[in-house]
Symmetry: D2
Amino acid sequence: MSRFASSAGCTAPLVPKLWAGRLGEHTSPIVERYTSSVADDVRLYVEDIEGSRAHARMLLEAGLLTPAQHEALDSGLQTVLEEFEAGTFVVEPADEDVHSAVERRLHEQIGTVAGMLHAGRSRNDQVATDLRLFAKRACVALVERIIELQSVLLRRAAEHRESVMPSYTHLQRAQPVTLAHHLLAHVAMLRRDAERLLDARRRCDELPLGSGAVAGSTLPLDRARVAALLGFAAVSQNSMDAVADRDFAVEITAACALLMTHCSRIGEEIVVWTSAEFGFAALPDTHATGSSLMPQKKNADVAELARGRSARVLGDVVTLLTMLKGLPLAYNRDLQEDKRPLFDAVDTTLDTLAMLANLFEVLRFDTDAMRSAASDSDLLATDVAELLVLRGIPFRQAHEIVGSLVRRTHTDGRSLADLSAAEWEAASGGAAPDFDLDAALRRRKTLGGPAPEETARQMDAARRRVEQLRTALDGMR
Amino acid sequence: MSRFASSAGCTAPLVPKLWAGRLGEHTSPIVERYTSSVADDVRLYVEDIEGSRAHARMLLEAGLLTPAQHEALDSGLQTVLEEFEAGTFVVEPADEDVHSAVERRLHEQIGTVAGMLHAGRSRNDQVATDLRLFAKRACVALVERIIELQSVLLRRAAEHRESVMPSYTHLQRAQPVTLAHHLLAHVAMLRRDAERLLDARRRCDELPLGSGAVAGSTLPLDRARVAALLGFAAVSQNSMDAVADRDFAVEITAACALLMTHCSRIGEEIVVWTSAEFGFAALPDTHATGSSLMPQKKNADVAELARGRSARVLGDVVTLLTMLKGLPLAYNRDLQEDKRPLFDAVDTTLDTLAMLANLFEVLRFDTDAMRSAASDSDLLATDVAELLVLRGIPFRQAHEIVGSLVRRTHTDGRSLADLSAAEWEAASGGAAPDFDLDAALRRRKTLGGPAPEETARQMDAARRRVEQLRTALDGMR
Amino acid sequence: MSRFASSAGCTAPLVPKLWAGRLGEHTSPIVERYTSSVADDVRLYVEDIEGSRAHARMLLEAGLLTPAQHEALDSGLQTVLEEFEAGTFVVEPADEDVHSAVERRLHEQIGTVAGMLHAGRSRNDQVATDLRLFAKRACVALVERIIELQSVLLRRAAEHRESVMPSYTHLQRAQPVTLAHHLLAHVAMLRRDAERLLDARRRCDELPLGSGAVAGSTLPLDRARVAALLGFAAVSQNSMDAVADRDFAVEITAACALLMTHCSRIGEEIVVWTSAEFGFAALPDTHATGSSLMPQKKNADVAELARGRSARVLGDVVTLLTMLKGLPLAYNRDLQEDKRPLFDAVDTTLDTLAMLANLFEVLRFDTDAMRSAASDSDLLATDVAELLVLRGIPFRQAHEIVGSLVRRTHTDGRSLADLSAAEWEAASGGAAPDFDLDAALRRRKTLGGPAPEETARQMDAARRRVEQLRTALDGMR
Amino acid sequence: MSRFASSAGCTAPLVPKLWAGRLGEHTSPIVERYTSSVADDVRLYVEDIEGSRAHARMLLEAGLLTPAQHEALDSGLQTVLEEFEAGTFVVEPADEDVHSAVERRLHEQIGTVAGMLHAGRSRNDQVATDLRLFAKRACVALVERIIELQSVLLRRAAEHRESVMPSYTHLQRAQPVTLAHHLLAHVAMLRRDAERLLDARRRCDELPLGSGAVAGSTLPLDRARVAALLGFAAVSQNSMDAVADRDFAVEITAACALLMTHCSRIGEEIVVWTSAEFGFAALPDTHATGSSLMPQKKNADVAELARGRSARVLGDVVTLLTMLKGLPLAYNRDLQEDKRPLFDAVDTTLDTLAMLANLFEVLRFDTDAMRSAASDSDLLATDVAELLVLRGIPFRQAHEIVGSLVRRTHTDGRSLADLSAAEWEAASGGAAPDFDLDAALRRRKTLGGPAPEETARQMDAARRRVEQLRTALDGMR
């Protein structure tokens, strides 16, 4: 059963740990393996090196590095970055994390001067800085993908401003709307997601570097300068909070979980719409998957996975909050477990948004099937009741009258539209209502309603909002 | 085993359901019991009646009610409200929810005209409106409590700007800070919580009423007018989204979960600080609890419960997101399960904030014990290393030198402060460092650090922020 | 905003706390309110009194009570129980929990001798005992309800052994099965739930009483005797574990969460089946709910709530595990938060099982609609491929041949059954397959398959298993 | 920002999909990438090939393969297995999952006959079979690690049967116990974990293969034969349930989450015990980690990570249950998301158990510090109260007397042991109690208590149970 790996297979460390002076013996390989985070955090190399370069520049300006020392550090870091980008950087088994890996490699390249980089800095404030840089970018990337999906939805909605379909409540046909109106509901949801992520990004936009391990530094650090170099809007106000805080990771992951919940609702709809029974939509062969056994099958697996993967991101939120629960100040090693859930939430959400944008691009709608499903005159029962209200009948009474008519027609196999003028006169003291579907749609022109003219207004407003988002993002890159 | 109640004990409905016209038979008692939400949502009676009065006024202005009809409805609603406030309102077994209960009672009081109130309105948009009114107020109440707790923490911090204590990482003594600095870390955390809640409130500030069950209305409703009457900043833009959306409940509950996670961290600290081993703080007898068996015990149960109850609010977040997952548009009855977790999250968080504010009011700090714990010269090892950096030694090398000295002194039972001038000269090429604790503190004057003068700046800034929050809240009531 | 109650409204305690000797001052009312669990745990009065009576009897037998003292205690406890059963027991604001309430009332009734009951006992082992007694009974009650639901499903399955319907994968029609076969899948799921609960009950069946607060007792207690009196199969082996352990609550709640997930899957199916598009099932008016706005609506709210409430029980699992996470041994007050999630999980699951059993009792199946949906000859594509396998064609090739035929018929508007003998000969080197639906069903007679004769076997086996469960329960009451 | 990868980078599929006949166009690369699970499930290659070989043998025996065909398949599968074991197997971008990868490679090696393997089998029943084989083995591996950890704990307990330490409730010193007694509490917890996993394994021990995609097969499959070949105790009873069921994954993951919660409690204790303030234990340098900034630090990171990683496994449970929630029967693609959480839960738990076993092996206990912390005579307050009970004073009164004495001594700076004989006589009507710590310990000899002789009994019983577990495992390999 070799896949349940023995935990004793690690080799001895090749270079001393950052703290090797204090502890007399080498770290046990099983401890090294259990505590290493480098497999997860290596992707932060860009942010790590960026942060180190800004720190080095500040040290230079503060007189803690000579120009020559700074030059050595800066070009050394540039070389390490290039190795990463070229795919030639080799992570060693003894590298505890990306920070150690970068520092180790820098040392290999430029020697002792590499040891000057860590002045006034701890891994505690360093990792918090790296992760905030990552998180800010992740928010921008997520909002970009949201805009992509919104744009596709808006394009498809524009094609279907008059495509009648039933709206559903309780998965029962409710009242006629249009496909455009339905798609715009998703655009509206996604707008909230984008705003939530931008709020999270704003709150994330504080530099922790300069907080040291927990209690700042006795060296003359210029934190505002580092913030400016790294594009942070502010510096953190309390050194203990700065290294103990992972609120930004929780907030972004929670925003992703809600966004994925929206994606799961969209996924559910595509599954339902592409069923034989609904038949409202079909996937092109490029986007469907078949069965290994049943030759006739054509499934909407991508929509199912969008639905299923929302569960993963919810799990990530739980992991983060449970991990933080009950930790005393300030840094505790538990915090290392922040990266996997944050990365997973961001990756899963980015992938799903791209997949859904692509899917809506190619989804084929069967507007005849939709119109046919909306054509049952029962779906206008509310219209009839509201007509009676306009005739002065209290709504509750009108509801009861129409409810009884529906029940009667169901018993004798008719529909509301089949009732005679005499029956309408008897039941409601007036003429038979109009059951024209398009007219019914045009009547629903309250703000936010499905009338095509109101939909046009909604689409304009939605497009403007998307443009505002796009502009906001431009300022963040 | 009578506590596992039989589900068949309900009586027949006393009044017809709102939808009794359509369905020919009475609802089965077990169905009635299983679907009823009134035990949970009855607390929304204020919002429900407020919403109904605003709706009625708009109907009047739109010509859908005569002044007399409006007057009957409005004073009838006022009477129902008074019954609730007086505790004389009786919920009937057949009341499905607070909306049905209010409408039923209104009908009992003013007769048929009560039936005019529901024109252009569905329970779907009604409950969404009630819940958003509640949620907006909950956010304000939560931020008020946050301010209370921050204010107590700031007062206690002001008393302890020079009370030295060890900071901890990994629950190991790290470097000297002050009690003020430590308490301010919590003030900083709580500020983010307040801002998150205000962002959530802003996003919640959209009126769903006028969206009907799902597809708006054919009646000439003036949604902007209702929004103005109820103090909403905007009206929702899409009727399907408006009735299907519970983002605001998720967002507020998630903000509470993170806030409670902060409370749990505070709780953990109080538990640790009041242990015999730490002895940093003590509870007065009014705030401690004893043991039913052990006569000598004095426990910090309230702090433990603050910690334990964070788990409940995390459970609430999971419930909400899982409930929403995979629901197609628009309203589904699953959404009824939104109230319990939202209410529980808000209540638990409000209670815990009040409890902690009260607890910090009376907590007794043992500053001698704190200073004593901070007095080990090992806690100044970083200072020494940074001193060597100022002497031109690369930090990594300085770290190693000091680490080795620490190890040496541990072996021979001394501390860093015991090393001779000769030993310092040999190890670091310079004089022995200064191990004065207060001087060490004053050296940590980087922005966000624990130096008393920097703490003064932090406290001023924090007080200003609290004032800004207070002012912001004033505009929301 | 009176609903966000001030936490300062409690009155002073009326009777001294159990630990009033140690602490000099009265407990603060806000602390009393924040720490009280009596609103939640009062339902444990039966178990609490049972436990106390067994403890008292053991104290008598150990010579720690005289017969007269025991008689006073025992009849006093009986009286308190009767007050609870009669609904006349009044919980006082100062009652911290059900244990304090019972002891306080006992004291009011029999005076000082009440104080002898707590010898050799702490609330820590007492609450653990009460909760285990409750948990064991909850398991039995849950399994009873599972049996009820299984029995209804088996009855309905027996009616529909030959009612053909499509099976679905990915919500796409897959292959023909019967309604009986589909319902039996749920019976199979539920069996696992029952077994899981019985395993949990077995593990719960250990008496903690006699573990004291944490370290046992110096009094000569006979724990085995108490276990026998209370019907526990064993006594706990380690006093620290006994008071710190809430595994049984987690295990039962997790079993409920999985069971509710099954209920949510059933709920989803009922929602889908009762949609206009599927039309496989209909609810009688007694079990449907209507709309407050739309007169024509008839919704399966109970099924939606079964689905939605699964989210609540998942939240309960998260609460319990998060609450326990990171607590050092032994008892911590956080454990008080065990009751709400356990009770909620048990209640929600019991209610949902009863509701679903009742629902399946009355659900009307439209077997014509089901058969019609199963009649598309595409659903026999796998049969055709398997026929080709019997003719010696490798399955993968057979799959491809049939897949191509399906694609061809879709292009030209035909179905597999429309292909000519010549086309079959050309494609597969043999005669056209038989597309008779009932014959196809009978062919699926592998163990576990939907052939009616195999279904008969399955039903017999399932009924026997239900009987075994029933017998097992009989031994537990 | 290249780390947020574009989702369009995949190449065209190199070989046709298993279902390529049905769908006319190649799958879109983004769909291929989004739906692929091979990165996660490739580790199932052993189980996949084992399952295929058993299936092939059964097909041979059922006459569906000739001996030559079977031989080709069997040796081809053996070759593929060897490629995996040798690390030479190359996963292609177009391989959807491990099943497709294996079948693709088999086809490359033995040609068309590879296509015969899938007769009577779908990926739906195949993946369920693979995963159950994995899950059964994972349970065995987990129980092995539990036994390892229990064995270390038992060995360390045997060294410390008389090492007095305080027990804690609410992290306040409670009563004297021994280190052995404390460690045995963890052994008791772990036993429940082992039993839960074995129960889960038993329930997992049913073969799904032969259930096809959802509705069995029309081919003459012998499922019992396959079960025997693969070592399953039974075959699944309903084909729809068999492919839709992931209960076993939930149950094992939930068992891991509870087990990890226990590990997190152990982790918390090690963190607390190794703090300067407690000083009950110390890590050797091989197992401690230092600080990148603070030269003096020595941290118990491994214990913190054991605590933090419990959060991850709880997240896995949430993911699984949320993923399953609301899925109609039978297979849905969402189920693909079962693997990551199950694998992560198993891996994290296995690693943590190994780490903790190793840690307890080397942990150094400071029994002097423990005894000193237990020496406060307040910890014997309960003993005194129980002594008064033996003198005939009701416990509640005894508790109050001793509580008052404790309060008095705290006021005047004494301890209980300092009270004079006269004071004892006055307060309790008898002689001063004995405050000898070891005698106090020996008095706690109730079953499950900390008296050394009772500890010896407990250890014997625990060792026997470990042996029973070991024997049970032997029968499962």
